[in-house]
Structures are given as C-alpha cells and as structure tokens.
C-alpha cells in the first residue's frame, strides 16, 4: 500500500498533462477543472470525450483504443489555455509559432510540424481550434473528423 502510494506520488510529481498525448484517464481531471458535463461517443477506432463547461466552452478529446489522447478540439468565449491543452507539446508549438511569424498582423494561426498540427481561429469572445498528433491518428481516421 505504501509502495503504491509512492508510485502514485512520483507519477503526479511528473507533469500530469491532462490533454494532448496524455492518457484518457485524465479527462476526468479536465472535467473537474472546467466544471463540465462529460459525454462519450464511440466511433470507429476511437472515442470522443466531449466536455461542456458551464461557461459555454466545449472541449472534445479524441482517445485511441489504447487510451491515448491523439487530438483535441475546442470552442468557447475565451481564449483556450493552450499550455494545458497541448501539454507536453506546448513549448514545441510556441517555438514554431514564433519562428513562422512575419511582420505584424492578426488572424487565424496554423502550425504544422511533422508530429504536431495546431489550428487557432475565431475572434474576441468566440475562440475555436484544434490540435492533433498526425503520427498518432488511428488507422482510417482523417484529420477532418477532428472538429
């Protein structure tokens, strides 16, 4: 018992990324975090965990049959917490965004890396976007299904 507790403590001392690339078991943490309802839809080859927050935000987490979150999509009135949603991929995203920025300007953001795709869109008071791991898409799943 003490041993198990120690293991648990060690695991959670590491970054407990609750989102992209994380384990489906962390959806529960996200549900609590945004005070959301939680519905699961089973599709061919994966499951969609849809969280609807009381503040109007919607987060959909796409979990493979092995339980890995390979994609996330979100809508809502506020800018998303990408540090949380992208988890271990957050810094990679930020570095790519910084590298590709040219001059000034506003508008949709598209970051396409070999192992990571992030799209941001919307406008003030209505934000939307998605992120997925191209190498982790289950067989037969198209990126168009992530929305």
């Amino acid at each position: 018992m003490i041993f198990c507790l120690a293991i648990s403590t060690i695991i959670c001392a590491l970054p407990c990324f609750a989102a992209l690339g994380g384990d489906v078991s962390t959806v529960r943490d996200d549900q609590a975090r945004i005070h959301a309802t939680w519905n699961v839809t089973q599709r061919s080859g994966y499951a969609v965990h849809e969280l609807r927050g009381a503040d109007g935000r919607i987060v959909r987490e796409y979990a493979s049959s092995s339980g890995k979150i390979f994609a996330i999509a979100w809508y809502g009135p506020w800018a998303p917490d990408l540090q949380h949603l992208l988890g271990a991929h957050f810094e990679e995203f930020q570095q790519a965004l910084q590298a590709q920025r040219r001059g000034a300007g506003h508008g949709p953001v598209v970051v396409q890396l070999p192992g990571l795709v992030v799209d941001l869109g919307g406008h003030m008071r209505s934000f939307a976007g998605r992120a997925y791991l191209p190498d982790e898409l289950p067989d037969g799943v198209r990126a168009e299904e992530i929305r």
Partner: protein, 349 residues
C-alpha cells in the same frame, strides 16, 4: 486541406477579405501602383479610413484611422494616428510610448476599492495585449464618448499573469508586433468580456486583474468598468458602423474610404435595401460552401489571405458592410453591394 470548425474560420476570413482587403490584392489582372479613393461623403459622423501597411509599415492590408483621446473632462488631449479598425474586437486599446506606440497622454488608471490598479489581458486569436485599464474621452469625426474605459498596452505596467501567457500566443507589446498605435474594436458587442467577467470564482475567465507592487490577481469587473466599444457610448449615431471602401478593378498600394457611424440616424447612413444577416450569440452568421454550412464573421482586423479558391467561390468585391451594435439585442450585419458587385454574398457556393 482543412475542414470542420477550422475551415469555417477560414471562410470567415474570406468575409473579412470582402470587407477590407480583397480588393487590394486579389484583382488578378492589371496592377496599379497608385492609390484609390472612394467618395466618402461628409458629415459629423464620417471618419476617413485607409487600407495601408500601418505606422510600422509591416501590416498587410490593415484598415487604419485616427482618433483623439483626452484626459476625461479636460482639454488635455492627444490625436493618435495609425489605429487599426477592427470589427472583430470590442473596445479601444492604445499602445503606450513605453512600448513604442504614440500614446504619451497621462490618462488616469482605473482602480478598485483597495486602490489597486486595474489591468487587463485581452486575448486575440494570434496574440494578446496586456496593460492597465484607463479612462479617456474619445473623439472620432464629430462623435464623442466620455470617460470610456480603454486599455493601454504597456508591458512595463506589471508582470504578465500566468493565466494570460498560458494562452500560448505571443504578446503584442511593441509597435513592430502590434503593427499599429492602437486597435479600435467596433464589433457587435458593447464590452470586450460581458457578464462572465462580473462574476467571482471559477466562472470568471480571468481577463481583468487588480494589480499592486507588480503582482496581479483576477478581479470581478462590472460591465460599465470593462473596456467598452466607444461607438456604443457615442452621444449620437451609436447604433452601428458602416465601413465603406471603393471597388477596384485591379490592385492598389493603398486605398481610402470612410467609417460612417449610425444606422438610419442620418441621411448618409440609411439602411436602404441592405440585406440583413442576423448574428447569433457569438456574433456570427452562417455561410455555405459546397453545400455545408459554417459560422462566419466580419473581421476587418484580421489581415491574412487564407482562402484563395476564387474560381469556386466567386470572391470579388462587396463594397459596403454595415454592422449594428445594439446593446441587449441581437446585433445584425447588413450588406449593400455596389451595382457592379454580385447580388449574393460571394462566400456562398
């Protein structure tokens, strides 16, 4: 190829192109290196606007104007040029001289009862702005709004809260990054946050902060204290905005037009036969592309060219976009094509 939600946002960008930019760069035919000017008319509600590269000369197809801000109730004023006109946001944001902007006027900072200064983190899709909330009297053309909460973009105000930086997009905290001396948000909301920011606890999205000694905590901010769309506070012509740009047959390095305040309040802003597109609760309306329906919005503040399929969409020129701001009522967008423009919205397939 992108579809789904994100694709819908691309379509939205196409609408923006119709509004402000497509006519500059999408002619596809002969190129004219001169500028083009519409016939803006005149009147106390007509404000000149121009599409150009902005005060930092690095903004593609931005829509810019000027305005005057004053310390409330005084004649201590400053005219600021190079303000980005943005129908996709709400409220006036001015880049401080500390960040390389034009604003030097010492506007009073909003405070909470404890005396702490109020700061704001305002999120845009591709960047955020951080700095204090201040008060200003605003004059644009002959229109006036008094004691308006505005944001001053100033990274020296306080450390950026983690809840702001966690959005993952960069701070627009220099003239080179913002590409403007300020942003004038005239979209279809009266405030930049709304009811959620008046709440305490977990329902508050964390846009407004009380700051002291360089440290900031999320606060509840009343609707009237939030950064306001100045148009909605005008003493006259406060129910909407028309942005009018000329039609072009080719391309031009710049173009001039008008921002006309009010809908149906003066001889020069009658609704006429304009088509009305009711907006939903997120300020959006539906467009259709190849049989699928997508949400869309008119955003003069976005400037990228994301949707190039002109042969399919027939994206050409719709010269006049009208947007109304109605507090407490569903806002509407109206479109009145020029005679030579397509009668139907060109984003519809």
């Amino acid at each position: 190829m992108r579809t789904g939600c994100f694709y819908s946002r691309l379509l939205s960008s196409a609408v923006l192109l119709i509004l402000a930019a497509a006519v500059v760069s999408c002619g596809g035919g002969s190129s004219h290196n001169n500028s083009s000017t519409s016939n803006p008319g005149s009147g106390s509600n007509v404000q000149p606007v121009a599409v150009n590269s902005g005060p930092a000369h690095n903004y593609a197809n931005g829509l810019f104007t000027n305005l005057t801000v004053c310390v409330p109730g005084s004649s201590d004023c400053q005219t600021i040029t190079g303000i980005l006109v943005d129908t996709g946001s709400y409220g006036l944001r001015l880049l401080s001289s500390a960040a390389g902007g034009a604003l030097t006027l010492p506007l009073p900072t909003q405070t909470v009862s404890s005396g702490n200064s109020v700061g704001e983190c305002a999120s845009f899709v591709s960047g955020y702005t951080w700095g204090p909330v201040k008060a200003a009297d605003i004059t644009i053309s002959g229109e006036n709004a008094s004691d308006v909460p505005v944001q001053v973009i100033d990274p020296t105000f306080s450390s950026v809260p983690s809840g702001c930086a966690n959005s993952g997009v960069p701070a627009d905290d220099t003239i080179q990054k913002l590409g403007a001396n300020g942003i004038l948000g005239v979209g279809p909301y009266a405030q930049d946050c709304g009811g959620a920011c008046t709440q305490t606890g977990s329902g508050n999205p964390g846009l407004y902060y009380g700051c002291a000694s360089g440290s900031c905590q999320v606060i509840a901010e009343s609707l009237t204290q939030q950064v306001q769309n100045p148009v909605a506070l005008f003493t006259t012509d406060s129910n909407g905005v028309i942005i009018e740009l000329p039609a072009l047959s080719g391309s031009a390095a710049s173009m001039s037009g008008s921002m006309i305040f009010g809908i149906g309040t003066q001889a020069n802003n009658a609704l006429g036969s304009a088509a009305i597109f009711p907006l939903n609760s997120t300020g959006e309306f539906n467009t259709t592309f190849k049989g699928k329906t997508y949400p869309a919005f008119v955003d003069s503040g976005s400037n990228a060219l994301f949707f190039l399929d002109g042969a399919t969409t027939g994206l050409t020129v719709v010269a006049i976009i009208r947007a109304s701001i109605a507090q407490g009522q569903p806002p509407i967008f109206q479109r009145r094509p020029r005679p030579q423009a397509p009668a139907r919205p060109s984003v519809s397939a």
